[in-house]
């Protein structure tokens, strides 16, 4: 018996797709196109005239040391967040995989941070670490440590790394848990019989078999750190102190919005766009092939 509902007509599929396509066009392609056009233009200080300048915005951008500095900041920030969020999530997933009985409650708790908006996460951590009032700053001060993310760049970086990591752990955890559960139990049992202790089993069997998941998450996390952490940085440090936490995406905002350099900011957006395209292409290439081992 035919159970499927069959719709006739050419129009319906397009109608069904239209809202999503419209959103994508209006909120993604159109601004992206605008950014590309904008990056070739220079506006005078009063916004009265615009001039087409080819690649001048890019030349200026790449001749400024502070752009390289924001690249370095981004690199440090993203590698720290990726490293900590992946390793902590993996640790939690391994624990959950072992005691799968409590996993339901454990999983729910762990997924919560993911539902928190980035700006809220930033504010949350800012409150906890606010130098004079934050409970954690008070606690570390009692322990004899002078905590001040408003003055010290390394403290500010620690703060944004912590809040960005905290938010991303949930997502990574779920993927790692699914990955762990996809490893046949008998393979692990075979390794146990083959004389491998738990630690050795982890590094020689489980970790290599998880590598497709890890790789996928690595790319997703880097993309996340590049773009989605804007809210965290804006709420917690605003790129400071002294631009110590100004990542590339934050610089787009501060140069364009506060600095008024629309052309330069657009050029930076285009550079970021290219980075994402490259990352996504790498990911598709490997994930599609599905042969990591």
């Amino acid at each position: 018996m035919e159970k499927r509902v069959v719709f006739n007509g050419r129009l319906l599929p397009y109608l069904l797709l239209a809202p999503q396509l419209l959103i994508t066009l209006v909120f993604f392609y159109w601004p992206a196109g605008q950014a590309v056009i904008q990056s070739f233009l220079v506006q005078d200080a009063f916004g009265l005239s615009t001039e087409f300048v080819w690649f001048e915005n890019y030349q200026v951008l790449f001749s400024k040391p502070d752009y390289y500095k924001s690249m370095l900041t981004t690199a440090i920030f993203s590698s720290l967040v990726a490293f900590f969020s992946l390793s902590i999530a993996l640790l939690l997933a391994v624990q959950a995989d072992r005691h799968i009985k409590f996993a339901a409650g454990y999983k729910t708790l762990l997924i919560w941070p993911y539902a928190v908006a980035p700006a809220v996460a930033g504010v949350l951590w800012l409150f906890m670490f606010q130098p004079s009032l934050g409970i954690i700053s008070q606690a570390v001060r009692v322990a004899g440590f002078e905590w001040n993310p408003l003055l010290r760049q390394d403290h500010a970086m620690t703060l944004v790394v912590m809040s960005a990591t905290w938010k991303q752990i949930s997502y990574n955890f779920l993927f790692f848990l699914a990955g762990l559960q996809a490893i046949p139990k008998s393979v692990i049992e075979a390794a146990a019989i083959d004389g491998a202790r738990p630690a050795r089993r982890f590094w020689t069997i489980i970790f290599p078999l998880l590598s497709p998941t890890t790789f996928f998450l690595l790319v997703v996390n880097i993309v996340y750190v590049f773009f989605d952490t804007f809210g965290i940085i804006d709420a917690a440090t605003q790129g400071g102190p002294a631009k110590g936490t100004e990542t590339m995406v934050y610089k787009v905002y501060s140069d364009g919005r506060s600095g008024g350099d629309l052309g330069g900011s657009a050029a930076q957006s285009v550079v970021l766009m290219v980075i994402v395209i490259v990352l996504t292409a790498i990911q598709f290439r490997y994930v599609e092939r599905k042969v990591q081992y």
């Binding site: 049992e189 004389g195 491998a196 290599p208 078999l209």
Partner: protein, 347 residues
């Protein structure tokens, strides 16, 4: 010495399922022990307790002279072949076989020698550099065997190792496993639900039912003298004819020496022959179906015209027509009597 001794071994899974209800078994050094039984009777559970993959809820398990209840699988000196082979998918065939030796710190040249020797015996030398996914089912099976034999363990454990292979390969591997086990003389426990595998491989055949051992012994003993109705019905294909006999007797069936009381009478299809003469047992049946399988044929008939179905095996292909009335007889040494209440053998 590496005999395996189980004493009143029990397994209660969390949740309360009692999968194994007090099993005692002695498997002598070098013996090939086969566990058979219907699905869910606790065969795998028992094997996994010997392996150390499941905790033992009661009783003791010892390998050699050592009680191993609390010993980690790694330290029991056993090897196991899984139904799905459980090869390490990211390692080459060579590394799959070498893994256990590396974990035990065997010197490199010794590992190489042993892996190559096992590969030669199992004819997987051409695939040593391949990953498991590039192997056929039969080749994977051989690698899994190789992984077990390189370590020279005290005991081999097999959990339905051949059930994922096609019929022809299964027979071939069955013969090879038997030869290999003979050559290595390693104590082995083998779980299967294929009774042909069980009959041909076993030195000691253990029939399990509902978490308990029904009967253990040489395969031929179980065939000739099943001690319970369950074993009688489980061993042999086509299965033994089992007839409930009330004290008043059954129409169409006559015994030379009548038995007292309600019993279950068992007689194997191959022990019935078509004959007009009287025997220790004579049954009259009406043919309802016939099957020719080549060298022999099976006749299905209704006892006394409309009673329970009886199977008779006859040589050749000279088949009676459906609806014919026939008489089949059996000799007294081929008759099995069981108590109807307890299922235990009476004669």
């Amino acid at each position: 010495m590496s005999e395996v001794r189980l004493q009143s071994v029990r397994k209660v899974y969390p949740g309360g399922v009692e999968a194994v209800k007090g099993v005692s078994l002695e498997i002598a050094d070098g013996q090939f022990c086969v566990l058979v039984g219907p699905s869910g009777c606790g065969k795998s559970t028992l094997l996994r307790m010997v392996a150390g993959l499941e905790t033992i809820s009661g009783g003791t398990c010892s390998i050699g002279d050592r009680e191993v209840n609390e010993v980690e699988p790694a330290d029991r000196d056993i090897a196991m072949v899984f139904q799905n082979y459980a090869l390490y998918p990211h390692m080459s065939v060579y590394d799959n076989m070498a893994y256990g030796l590396r974990n035990r710190g065997t010197p490199k040249d010794e590992i190489d020698r042993r892996v190559r020797e096992a590969a030669r015996i199992l004819e997987v030398e051409p695939f040593l550099e391949r990953k498991p996914r590039a192997l056929s089912g039969g080749q994977r099976q051989r690698v899994a065997m190789g992984r077990a034999i390189v370590r020279k363990p005290k005991v081999f454990l097999f959990d339905e190792p051949l059930s994922n292979l096609d019929a022809k390969l299964r027979i071939q591997m069955r013969v090879e496993i038997k030869k290999l086990q003979r050559a290595l003389a390693t104590t082995s426990i083998y779980v299967t639900h294929d009774q042909l595998e069980a009959m041909t491989l076993a030195d000691q055949l253990v029939v399990m039912n509902k978490g308990q051992v029904e009967q253990a012994g040489a395969p031929i003993t179980l065939y000739e003298r099943p001690m319970t109705i369950f074993v009688a019905g489980f061993i042999g294909a086509p299965p033994m004819n089992l007839l409930d006999m009330p004290a008043t007797g059954v129409p169409g069936l006559s015994l030379a020496t009548p038995v007292a009381g309600p019993v279950t009478l068992g007689v194997r299809p191959e022990h019935l022959e078509l004959s007009a003469e009287a025997g220790a047992l004579a049954i009259d049946l009406t043919v309802t179906a016939v099957e020719a399988v080549g060298a022999e044929s099976y006749i299905y008939g209704a006892l006394g015209g409309q009673g329970p179905e009886i199977i008779v095996r006859i040589p050749g292909r000279d088949l009676p027509a459906i609806g014919t009335s026939l008489r089949a007889v059996a000799r007294s040494e081929n008759l099995h009597f069981f108590s109807r209440e307890t299922g235990i053998r009476l004669n």
